[in-house]
């Protein structure tokens, strides 16, 4: 794991990040198909009332996924973009 990388599930609401890589093969294929490709910018849009699942903004649309699924995506946080 490269330094400075976080899990997608660790983002704060409104925070943006760039997808780096995936840690789970099966999940990677599903996420790729949905447009989550390495290099793509994602933003945490909202979290479901019970803390799970989460909704991210990616390649022009809202995608919901569970925290466990999001934690297989490594991202690098874009600085100065906490709003």
């Amino acid at each position: 794991m490269k330094t400075g990388l976080k899990n997608l599930s660790q983002l704060k609401i409104g925070q943006s990040a760039i997808i780096d890589s995936f840690t789970d093969k099966d999940m990677a294929l599903k996420l790729l198909e949905m447009g989550c490709t390495p290099g793509e910018v994602v933003k945490l849009d909202c979290v479901a009332p019970l803390g799970d699942p989460i909704a991210i903004f990616v390649s022009g649309y809202l995608l919901s996924l569970r925290k466990a699924e999001a934690s297989t995506v490594l991202v690098s946080v874009i600085a100065n973009n906490s709003k």
Binding site: K25, K30, A48, P49, F57, S59, Y61, L62, S64
Partner: protein, 715 residues
């Protein structure tokens, strides 16, 4: 574009097949409706239960175009049944539905993800028209898509449309009568990923492209269309086994390569003002609708509103339908010549028909609401806020939709579980959905509640009858999630459960789409459930009006003896004869033979007959009661309720339908699996008789035990 570009000229044919393909939520169905109007029909793809929607339109050169609306899919990887259908139709040139041309509908507001599917289809070398939908939305968001450039890059015709506003639809139709280029562009070179494999496949079968070969072999274990070509199948199987194919990594590599190309194209053809755009309206609405308090509060209010409407608003048209049938049978009794046929028509066919038609208002209303909630994008949010709760019970956020639909009818509800990708969550959803009180139970509930619960109001809006009715729906729901929780521990998971799902932007619902949904569901209900119910009704009429050997004559003779004809007046005598005849009939014999088993629940042989016939479909209960009691009396127009109320227990001389019997029956109907159509659909969806059998068994046990307890507590 290539100099030696080849074209397909469709205007030479008089009849062309056009497939509509696209991601879920891309507006494909809206376009389908706009293209075909009401000239459409719904069927099934052979061997599977996936709905096949076909529509027709005349093109301006007098060619008839047949449009096939393929299931929505994000890619050509055949993972779910829906995707398998789309895969087979497009990848197998011998498929009966294989199109002459494919219209790929892409949501222009997230072009890159949509281009993924487009790129796969282009690589198959199928003539393609790319319809960029929702271009009006895109422009509002400050994004410009250069459609001309995109068309040059992809080597296919590209047209901007707005299916909702019907913009560009005619132009799209006109394109179909022009020569269409066969795509030459290779998005990716699959020979770099698996060179030998692709070459070997192309030696065995004739295919248009390397990618088609790659798709065939990497998904070989999911493909069924070689079953008729044993020689090819044998060779491919040998190749597949010797190559030890890791489908997952092949497809991952393919996806990554594809997106590299797509990103390059997107940079050239799309310009936007900001790096990340957010639909602010959707964002604001989401902050309320997925709020930790308001999210659930609003969902509950919406549910409450839906159920109130279904029960109170639908009551009026249902009353009209009921009185229409009452009048009809009164008219038939007077005008038709008396005899066996008239009897069959009134007490068999009419009684059965009225039991079916009367549900139409409720089913239509419920599917209107579900249609609106789906079409606006709200249903996806419900799944989103319910996922964590549902997961505790072994379900999935998407199980909410079958559970809600189950209130109308378990048949479409069970079909809607197809969107749940995890096998275990899907099976549990299928198994518990019939515990939700469907509209077929409602007439049973209504009849029984009005028999045993006083109609007095306690405070203005609510009355006791309404409260009991709501209680029954709640009990059904509690039983459903409890059953789910138990199955969560029993069933073993086959694969990881997923909740990767698009949350579409909020939109105003389209009445046309909602209207077509209602029309479809009502039609399926009237036809599928209707034919079973009417058939049972006719069989029941026969069973209750015929008896073995000379039994009826014996009864008649008995009442013709001087002492009995002196004892009763003519009317009393007729009623006694009718009652004894029913008891002596085949139906009576059937009811009596199961009486010992159901006596502990407080049921007699008449209820026994209704239970037996209800195992075909629950609503038959009311029809059966109607038949039994009109066969027992002679006044057909008197309502069933009054007849049941007048029923007296032969032993005690008190009313038969006491509180204890009534509630015991209510609980029995809430839990028992009494619907042949549902069992049939469970088999079709699971492809294994094990599941309907288990479902039938566990629900019957639950119903029997619960009724037993209720009866003995209230007695």
């Amino acid at each position: 574009m290539d100099a030696n570009q080849s074209f397909v000229n469709l205007s030479e044919k008089s009849y062309i097949k056009v497939a509509l393909v696209g991601n879920p939520n891309c507006g494909k169905s809206t376009l389908f409706n706009a293209l075909t109007g009401l000239h459409q029909k719904t069927g099934n793809f052979p061997g599977v239960t996936v709905d096949k929607k076909v529509g027709f339109a005349k093109l301006n050169n007098n060619v008839t175009a047949e449009f096939i609306d393929l299931p929505g899919t994000y890619s050509l990887y055949p993972k779910s049944i829906d995707e398998q259908v789309a895969f087979e139709v497009l990848c197998n040139p011998d498929n009966v539905n294989h199109p002459d041309v494919t219209i790929v509908v892409a949501d222009a507001s997230n072009l890159k993800r949509n281009l993924f599917l487009v790129s796969q289809i282009i690589d198959l070398r199928i003539p393609v028209i790319l319809a960029l939908n929702m271009m009006d939305l895109v422009e509002k968001e400050g994004i410009v898509i250069d459609a001309v450039r995109l068309s040059e890059k992809l080597g296919v015709k590209v047209i901007a449309i707005s299916a909702r506003k019907k913009e560009g639809v005619e132009q799209l139709k006109n394109l179909l009568s022009e020569p269409l280029p066969i795509p030459q562009y290779d998005f990716i070179d699959v020979k770099k990923i698996a060179p030998e494999l692709v070459e070997n496949v192309r030696k065995i079968i004739k295919l248009n492209s390397d990618f088609a070969a790659f798709q065939t072999i990497s998904n070989f274990s999911e493909i069924h269309y070689f079953d008729n070509h044993p020689d090819k199948k044998g060779k491919l199987t040998a190749l597949f086994n010797s190559a030890s194919i890791d489908r997952n990594s092949l497809q991952t590599e393919e996806s990554v390569e594809r997106y590299k190309v797509i990103n390059r194209i997107a940079i050239e053809c799309v310009t936007s003002r900001s790096a990340i755009k957010t639909d602010t309206f959707t964002h604001k609405l989401d902050s309320i609708l997925t709020h930790r308090f308001w999210g659930y509060a609003i969902f509950l209010i919406i549910l409450f509103f839906i159920f109130q409407t279904i029960f109170f608003v639908a009551a009026y048209p249902m009353e009209w339908i009921e009185s229409l049938f009452t009048h009809l049978s009164a008219w038939a009794t007077i005008s038709l010549p008396p005899g066996e046929l008239t009897n069959l028509f009134i007490n068999g066919i009419l009684a059965g028909l009225s039991g079916v038609v009367v549900f139409v208002p409720q089913i239509a209303l419920l599917f209107a609401f579900i249609g609106i909630l789906e079409d606006t994008g709200y249903m996806a949010r419900v799944s989103f806020i319910m996922d964590k709760l549902m997961r505790r019970f072994g379900l999935n956020g998407r199980s909410v939709i079958p559970l809600i639909s189950g209130v109308a009818c378990a048949v479409p509800a069970i079909m809607s579980t197809r969107t749940i990708s995890s096998w275990k969550e899907r099976i549990i959803s299928i198994m518990i959905t019939p515990l939700m009180s469907c509209s077929a139970r409602l007439p049973v509930y209504t009849l029984l509640i009005s028999l045993v619960v006083p109609s007095a109001k306690n405070s203005g809006f609510f009355n006791y009858q309404g409260l009991i009715l709501m209680g029954l729906y709640l009990i059904g729901f509690i039983a459903a999630i409890s059953a789910a929780w138990v199955m969560k521990w029993i069933l073993k998971a086959r694969e990881k459960s997923y909740f990767i799902m698009e949350l579409p932007v909020y939109r105003t619902p389209q009445w046309r789409t909602v209207g077509l949904t209602i029309y479809d569901k009502v039609k399926v209900f009237l036809w599928d459930a209707g034919k079973i119910i009417v058939a049972i009704s006719v069989i029941l009429w026969y069973l209750s009006t015929h008896a073995p050997s000379e039994r009826f004559q014996t009864i008649e003779k008995k009442y013709n003896t001087p002492e009995l004809s002196m004892k009763y007046n003519s009317e009393e005598r007729q009623a006694k004869i009718a009652a004894e005849k029913l008891e002596a009939s085949y139906a009576g014999i059937l009811g009596k033979s199961i009486e010992p088993a159901i006596a502990p629940l407080g049921f007699d042989w008449k209820i026994g007959i209704a239970l037996v016939t209800s195992f075909a479909a629950r609503e038959v209960f009311v029809g059966t009661m109607a038949t039994i009691y009109s066969a027992g009396g002679k006044d057909n127009t008197q309502s069933i309720r009054d007849k049941m109320q007048a029923e007296v227990d032969e032993k005690t001389g008190l009313p038969k339908f006491t509180m204890a019997v009534g509630f015991s029956l209510l609980i029995f109907y809430a839990f028992a699996m009494q619907c042949m159509s549902t069992l049939a659909v469970v088999y079709r969806e699971t492809k294994n008789w094990k599941w309907p059998v288990i479902q039938f068994a566990y629900m019957s046990v639950l119903a029997y035990v619960s009724s037993f307890i209720v009866y003995h507590l209230l007695k």
